[in-house]
């Protein structure tokens, strides 16, 4: 049997022309610029950078514009573009303890060195629609300033670790595995899991994190600390052989503190779940930290009972470019597959008719 394998080119070209028209919308409304997206829809841009696994705000803004605001489609575009570029190498691990703090809060200690710094947060807003934003207006007055107190802002986890109450992270400088080169293999060590979670779908990770709070995984987490701010990125160019500072990167880091009952080799102490994401996105950083901690169940000898503790389930489903690819491929032609299903069903029905009635 032969099926049509050609045709549709004209329809596709016309569909894309209409897409371009719809993307632009009513020409009477001004076209958005990348600068507007970066400045005024910056959190959407940050999300596209995280899920597109490529830190470049301008590219993420372009992807968002091209995708008509669809963050998953935009992440897909960014990943595809990323594949066209050569890899120079790897940067030195960022030092988040040296972050220039824009926001830093702890839910575990009220008074901590460096203090609670709220930063430009949605927290404590009343979540009432602000109709004054409906029409363009003059820019708001500059935010108030104060003299920085100049005290250091050590990590809360370091403060706890000094008292022996927080498990220290195993140190090391070995070359971490790279998801973009080797793909996902199980069992996945924590380094690979963190890379997968950092690019994972925010919605999926928030839902999984929530599930651990609701009893699927027996977690009792506290936000030890969330910090947002810029860190300097250092890189050793092979041409030079010494580390140079190549610019700043805005990051959000979350340290979740969880109880640990202790084992034969370790006393009862706190353990941490870790979240690190580009830009300002503490929802994603918190969800990442919750899921990171849940996935450490096996390593910590805890009972594995919940979806969030199942590395295979979490890691194979958290990448939205992969999941949307497989879900959306269902709309592509499956004519031959379906033809065989049809024939099978027809013969079953014929047999049922002969046997039954």
């Amino acid at each position: 049997m032969y099926v049509a394998v050609k045709g549709g080119e004209r329809a596709i070209a016309h569909a894309h022309a209409w897409l371009a028209e719809i993307r632009r919308g009513d020409p009477a409304a001004p076209e958005v610029t990348l600068a507007q997206l970066m400045e005024q829809l910056g959190l959407a841009v940050d999300r596209v950078m995280a899920e597109g696994a490529c830190a470049d705000r301008e590219l993420a803004a372009l992807a968002l514009k091209q995708a008509r605001g669809d963050t998953t489609e935009a992440a897909f575009l960014l990943r595809a573009y990323r594949n066209t570029l050569p890899r120079f190498g790897a940067a030195e691990p960022v030092d988040t303890a040296a972050m220039r703090i824009e926001r830093r809060i702890s839910a575990t200690f009220k008074d901590l060195p460096g203090g609670q710094v709220l930063g430009p947060t949605f927290d404590y807003t009343h979540r009432l629609l602000d109709f004054s934003l409906a029409d363009p207006g003059p820019p708001p007055p500059p935010a108030p300033e104060a003299e920085p107190e100049g005290d250091a802002t050590p990590r809360v986890t370091d403060v706890l670790a000094e008292e022996g109450l927080m498990a220290r992270e195993p140190p090391g400088n070995e070359e971490p595995p790279d998801l973009t080169r080797e793909g996902l293999r199980l069992p996945a060590g924590r380094a690979l899991r963190l890379q997968a979670l950092a690019r994972g779908d925010e919605g999926f990770l928030v839902a999984l994190g929530y599930s651990t709070q609701r009893g699927y995984g027996n977690a009792h987490p506290f936000v030890g600390e969330i910090r947002v701010g810029e860190v300097a990125v250092e890189y050793i160019p092979p041409e030079l052989g010494f580390a140079i500072d190549i610019g700043d990167l805005l990051l959000t880091e979350c340290q979740m503190v969880n109880q640990f009952a202790g084992s034969a080799s370790a006393p009862p102490q706190f353990t941490r779940g870790y979240g690190l994401v580009p830009g300002r996105n503490e929802r994603k950083a918190m969800a990442m930290a919750l899921v990171d901690r849940a996935l450490r169940a096996e390593e910590l000898g805890e009972e594995k009972t919940a979806p969030a503790q199942d590395a295979e389930f979490v890691l194979y489903h958290c990448d939205n470019v992969e999941s949307t690819g497989f879900v959306e491929h269902l709309k592509l032609p499956h004519y031959v597959d379906f033809q065989s299903e049809l024939e099978k069903l027809r013969s079953l029905r014929a047999r049922w008719g002969q046997e039954g009635q």
């Binding site: 470049d56 590219l59 190498g89 691990p93 920085p148 971490p176 890189y235």
Partner: protein
């Protein structure tokens, strides 16, 4: 350039860079945060305009960013970032290099050019004074402005002493 008795110096060779490494690292960090327009303006100020040869780039690529588990543990790959690099040689022989975050070939080339020029002890004092220090001051002021805004959102708790 005076003839070196040993092998041809490379830019990684500290002997070829009379400026202390810390000083070079500092101006490279300042150049990495400058705007292309600022560097273009600084080039226009130079008389005569130096000649240079591109040895590599400027080219755009990716650098894998890394974090540490729990902030202080073993490293993991976080995500890639776009970067631009350029290596060039002045007609006078000095080599310059730049690797900067982002996609900006013009800026990477200019940063590499000024890196090379700054290695010339004769040019360095003037370039530090006319280019690097003003850029460093502006960058520090922008950081300070953000630190001041952050400081004004620092919570001041009031504790009530219970009296008996």
């Amino acid at each position: 350039m005076t003839a070196a008795p040993t092998a041809a110096p490379t830019i990684a060779d500290p002997a070829a860079t009379p400026a202390p490494l810390a000083e070079r690292r500092r101006w490279m960090a300042v150049l990495a945060r400058a705007g292309a327009a600022e560097l273009r303006a600084a080039l226009a100020e130079l008389d005569p305009t130096p000649g240079w040869l591109r040895l590599k780039g400027p080219e755009v690529g990716l650098i894998m960013l890394r974090g540490r588990m729990g902030g202080d543990g073993a490293p993991f790959n976080l995500m890639e970032a776009t970067a631009t690099r350029c290596t060039l040689r002045l007609d006078s022989g000095a080599m310059g290099h730049a690797t900067i975050l982002g996609r900006d070939p013009e800026k990477a080339e200019l940063a590499a050019l000024f890196d090379a020029l700054l290695q010339d002890p004769a040019r360095r004092p003037r370039l530090l004074e006319s280019l690097i220090e003003p850029l460093a001051r502006a960058q520090a002021a922008a950081r300070q402005a953000r630190a001041r805004k952050a400081a004004s959102t620092r919570v001041q708790f009031f504790t009530l002493a219970a009296m008996r």
